[in-house]
């Protein structure tokens, strides 16, 4: 399980940013790709632990799931995979392994305390 070390990085990065801008954090918004290798439930659980004893204690992690988007060489455009067990264009069935989105593990915003 590497979610705890990832959660600790998220807390560190969010806190660093908050200090730099002199704000207090209510929630951290995160984009999480289906191919990131990180399990959402484990990350949410780990985030709480990682926040303990830091200025982010009690803050929330708001996760936005990012589906796997591949480039279909036949349709000649990006497509969202129907299943991560099947790297095929959902419309024409062409095989493709050119991943455009789905590996994200990105902090996108800090929600501030009022």
């Amino acid at each position: 399980m590497h979610e705890l070390s990832i959660a600790m990085s998220i807390v560190d990065m969010a806190q660093e940013e908050a200090e730099r801008r002199n704000v207090r954090v209510e929630a951290v918004h995160l984009e999480l790709g289906a191919l990131s290798g990180v399990v959402k439930e484990a990350l949410l659980f780990s985030f709480e632990i990682a926040c303990d004893g830091t200025p982010l204690q009690g803050s929330r992690l708001v996760v936005k799931d990012v589906p796997i988007e591949v480039y279909c060489p036949v349709c000649n455009m990006p497509k969202i995979l129907a299943s991560m067990q099947w790297f095929c264009c959902p419309d024409c069935g062409a095989q493709t392994s050119e991943v455009i989105h789905g590996k994200e593990l990105v902090i996108t915003a800090l929600e501030l305390k009022q």
């Binding site: 940013e17 918004h29 493709t96 915003a109 800090l110 929600e111």
Partner: protein, 227 residues
């Protein structure tokens, strides 16, 4: 007064630190002409056995070395060292995967300019290593015939992150009724076009084809470096 949440937009890649170090390693490997291959698989799929065989067969022709990650023991490093090539152990402690910083640290006082090929055996784990770039040129994912044909479907992320699949322990295939076609179809489903090798490190079957493939990869990469 409204209670619209106040959002401060930022955009920060959580794995940035690892990615930056990995990129640095890759540049350094390229500059020094070292081709780097990492191995991932579930625990016990045969990484160390396959690697020991590979190192032994490559040693007369190439300058090779290996790094091996292990949670607690030095057993794998001792086994690999029997091949006669330089081997370094990275003890990861409680971490279930290698990170680029550990590779960098371990290479600090190693003269990579003297190496043609460097192998990195990751900790046995089909989940966590997927997220961490180690600066390698080629990632091998191993799948032993004894663990079932559906591993790629259960762990699509790591199979998708790899460049080549190696089916190991083929000497046991008949005994466990390993279904070759299904395994191959599952691999292709999660990583279309992936190259697949079938080997038995015990009998040596299939090693030649793999070594030829490596030799080609290495030759092509050193061409690129010298241009």
């Amino acid at each position: 007064m409204s209670h619209e949440p106040r959002l401060l937009e930022v955009r920060k890649n959580v794995l940035k630190q690892n990615d930056v170090i990995a990129r640095g390693l890759r540049d350094r490997f390229r500059l020094q002409g070292t081709y780097v291959i990492s191995l991932v698989s579930s625990p016990g799929s045969g990484k160390t056995t396959f690697l020991e065989k590979t190192l032994t067969l490559l040693r007369p022709h190439y300058r090779v070395a290996a790094l091996v990650g292990d949670l607690a023991t030095e057993n794998d490093a001792l086994r690999l060292a029997r091949s006669g090539v330089p081997v370094r152990q990275i003890t990861t402690g409680t971490l279930c995967h290698l990170e680029a910083a550990m590779v960098e640290h371990s290479l600090n006082d190693w003269n990579l300019g003297e190496l043609d090929l460097l192998f990195i055996e990751n900790v046995g784990n089909l989940v966590c290593p997927a997220s961490y770039d180690l600066g390698e040129d080629l990632r091998l994912v191993l799948l032993s015939v004894t663990e079932g044909e559906d591993k790629p479907l259960k762990y699509p992320t790591i199979f998708n992150s790899a460049d080549v699949a190696v089916i190991t322990k083929t000497d046991l295939a008949a005994a466990v009724e390993f279904d070759d076609l299904t395994a191959n179809a599952n691999i292709q489903a999660v990583r279309p076009g992936m190259c697949v090798f079938k080997v038995s490190a015990k009998t040596g079957e299939g090693m030649d084809a793999f070594l030829q493939f490596l030799a080609q990869k290495h030759a092509r990469s050193s061409q690129k470096t010298s241009v």
